[in-house]
Symmetry: C2
């Protein structure tokens, strides 16, 4: 992508704010780029659009592969657009490069939403770290908000740090779990459940109805052992079937009720301020550590220092001190 | 504390290595100090003693207030010293300042261990952040190892980040839970269970036997829903009574078996390398961020930048860039 002159950024911002889909897609591509001039342009664009952001209901949706995320998003998504609301679907998937396929790369996965004029689906950016993807997804989310989307789904698969990253940018976090044998239940990552405001047992239909009921009971029990994220707002649990449509309206109703609760108690404003503050300081840390990591004087020393530390010849604290001195002198 | 000349550090190192309890206590005080000259001396001392560290079995012990940590540590601790092993007990308790009482400040809390010549109990350092306490506790642990202690307990109360910090410096993490009503069970912090290699239901005696059995079943169910930290090493669970002595020998046997498993599979070496590497890089980050935080040029800008970010006038990324430029120029 080439460097954009300021007047082009102004024009792009205007188009995004007007809800132009092609302009939005282009803006997200700009935000996803790692090239310096693109980053500068993305920053200018986002700064210009910031006042137009923040009004959307931000929902994180997670679940292990096979939990039924695509079909659920398709079902809930079309339900939401039928109520007249607009919806953007983004994804954080640091594993897409490893697994060889992007979770949103193929729009046929959500064929109804992909053709829905009130929905905007963005394929997964790939080829970066979880942190990098998270940063871009946050910016993509702001861009879709500036374009007027009223509900944003941020989808993630249950791997690595991506769930925590997504939980740190949304208002509500939904965890999808599939019914199955006891073995399947073990697949839930330790610590994932603690992020959830709503757990949905999927595929609650046909042959799996009984298993779904058992899973519902098991997860309800496990959730009851945990301290709620917000006082007076324990995590909810429900059964859904994207096939029969069971529980879709209920899920949306639960999500809206939780969001209203958050808003009315002032928690939402607080939560978002906290998220922005920690985003700021994590950007400071990331940028600092990046600067440290790309500094030739530091690179020359880091390897040797780490080796000495691992061999037990040097105290980590002493090695860190040496590295920082090299950095500040450079 | 005054600056120690090099020959005094050499002498202190010799005394610590010889198992001198007063010298060890003095060395830990040095490591706990925040004064520059003390820190330098502590670093020199630790570097000298590093080759003598690493042989101990490191156990983290956590549990909410009232879970019975003191009585359990006293019971298991005296059991261990009776087998001929030496034991050091340290504590991470960032809350001690707030709550007005250090969890290990009063040695009468563990009166048997306090008089046991094979045990070394160190009261909690207080008045610092969780991160600061963790750093010092890690150094104190190394000092006790250099002094020849074969088993180290690092005790923490289930608040804030201290559990994660402790889990990051020990080989095995033990979580104590008290039986009780359903309400009590909710007190377990979300995410705490994921750290545990062994969950112990305490007070499994007398009137509480039945409740302990129920809690045992509940927690076993909750644990079975979680993915084990190490493949083939699912978290264990047992019932103990410090009062009657039930389960104390069993706990020690489980801990030793888990440690042998870790060692034989090469996991222990891997785990400790990972811990040291992440300690190194977290020291680098901490030191960098401290340097940034104490820089007057940065301090002058940080407040205004954060305000602009929170007000939605400035992108966190842009604000971070501005701050870093101020830092590197300074």
């Amino acid at each position: 992508m080439t460097r954009l002159p300021t007047k082009d950024i102004d024009r792009l911002a205007g188009l995004v704010a007007g809800g132009d889909r092609k302009a939005l897609a282009h803006a997200i591509t700009l935000a996803e780029s790692t090239l310096g001039p693109d980053r500068d342009a993305a920053e200018k664009l986002l700064t210009k659009l910031l006042p137009r952001t923040g009004q959307a209901l931000r929902i994180g949706i997670s679940g292990a592969p096979g939990a039924g995320k695509s079909t659920f998003i398709e079902a809930l998504g079309t339900y939401i657009t039928k109520t007249g609301k607009t919806l953007a679907v983004l994804a954080v998937d640091p594993s897409s490069q490893r697994s060889g396929g992007s979770i949103l790369g193929d729009k046929t996965r959500m064929s109804l939403l992909a053709r829905d004029p009130q929905a905007f689906i963005r394929p997964t950016p790939s080829g970066t770290t979880a942190g990098g993807v998270a940063r871009r997804t946050r910016e993509s989310m702001l861009l879709t908000e500036a374009a007027g989307y009223e509900v944003v789904f941020v989808e993630t698969v249950g791997v690595g740090q991506s769930e925590t990253a997504v939980a740190g940018m949304v208002d509500l976090f939904v965890l999808l779990v599939a019914p199955g044998s006891g073995d399947d239940l073990q697949g839930i990552k330790r610590g994932t459940m603690e992020l959830a405001d709503l757990v949905l047992v999927t595929k609650a239909d046909g042959d799996l109805s009984e298993a779904a009921n058992r899973a519902f009971g098991d997860y309800r029990g496990a959730l009851s052992l945990m301290r709620p994220k917000y006082l007076g707002m324990p995590p909810e649990i429900a059964r859904v079937s994207a096939l029969s449509g069971t529980g879709i309206a209920e899920s949306w109703s639960i999500i809206q009720t939780l969001w209203q609760k958050l808003k009315s108690a002032g928690h939402l404003e607080e939560l978002r301020k906290m998220q922005v503050r920690s985003w700021f300081w994590s950007e400071v840390q990331t940028t600092l550590v990046e600067a440290l990591g790309t500094d030739p004087a530091v690179a020359a020393e880091a390897g040797e220092l780490e080796k000495a530390v691992l061999a037990g010849r040097l105290l980590p604290e002493a090695a860190a001190g040496t590295l920082i001195r090299a950095f500040r002198k450079a």
